[in-house]
């Protein structure tokens, strides 16, 4: 066994794309799992046994990352220098910030025992879920655009969309936790 590629895409032997055929990925995962299964190395040298263990670790981490579209996008962005980094608010539209702020205010009111905030929060939850669905559709389109063009400008856009998604998603989770907790 030679040196193992540490890059997940390279390890799986696939192109560095944002959109992946998940069934193909799964087939490769099973094939590689068999290839590096520790049981097949019990009679080999300690060095080879270690390599098989390392391979299994990369394989599992890689599969977890690549099969999830968001984790995969973060991974590809990172290898292209678009790490989440410290970009401050530059990628978040001001209107979204306003909405996020208002929603946080409503959350705080509900936590303080103000039940009148509940109706507003339920409405906000529906709005943010719709927003997330819109963001996901946008992401899907951008994935295809990048895979077709390999244009770094598209990656910068994907970075912005993912930032927005994370923002919205954190909020939806928090609202759901709060609404469920308050109802219990």
């Amino acid at each position: 066994m030679g040196v193992l590629p540490s890059n997940y895409y390279d390890f799986f032997g696939i192109e560095h794309r944002l959109d992946l055929d998940l069934r193909d990925l799964e087939r490769r995962f099973y094939a590689l799992s068999r290839q590096y299964h520790p049981d097949r190395f019990t009679l080999k040298s300690a060095e080879e046994q270690q390599t098989a263990l390392d391979a299994t670790a990369i394989l599992n981490d890689g599969y977890r990352t690549l099969r999830d579209p968001l984790a995969r996008a973060e991974y590809l962005l990172k290898e292209n220098g678009f790490d989440i980094g410290e970009q401050g608010s530059k990628n978040v539209p001001p209107e979204l910030l306003e909405e996020v702020f208002e929603l946080n205010m409503a959350l705080e009111e509900l936590r303080a025992g103000d039940e009148s905030a509940r109706a507003g929060l339920e409405e906000a939850r529906a709005k943010f879920i719709a927003m997330r669905d819109g963001i996901d559709a946008e992401l899907k389109a951008k994935f295809a655009e990048y895979d077709g063009s390999r244009d770094r400008k598209v990656l910068a856009e994907v970075r912005g969309i993912l930032n927005r998604r994370r923002y919205v998603w954190n909020l939806v989770n928090e609202v759901e936790k709060e609404l469920a907790g308050a109802a219990a």
Partner: protein, 136 residues
Amino acid sequence: MSYSDKVLDHYNHPRNVGSLDRNDPNVGTGMVGAPECGDVMKLQVKVDEMTGVIAEAKFKTFGCGSAIASSSLATEWLKGKTVDEALAIKNTDIVNELSLPPVKIHCSVLAEDAIKAAISDYKKKQDQRKPVEARA
């Protein structure tokens, strides 16, 4: 990771929490957020018309202790400063004052961004108020 005493003090006793009337022409509002942690920070200043000095500064931050402390400290520093002096506040000043660890530096960047956004909003409002001929 543990917070410094100064961060804890601002977190437990935040200064100047609240809001100012954003329709007041002498009030500048800055709203910024950090997608990496989901923080959102609103910072407002009210400038005294006669002296050009920041008379009031208010903030409301949803986020971690360092983000709250950074904005709380920022409002303390803003009061009594002119608009230009306010713009000279750097995130590194906040980092030093609060002894923020490297992973929390972005909180101070957020506070600096919030100051800049509030001042820029104030300046925009002031420009709009001036008659066109006086601006030339």
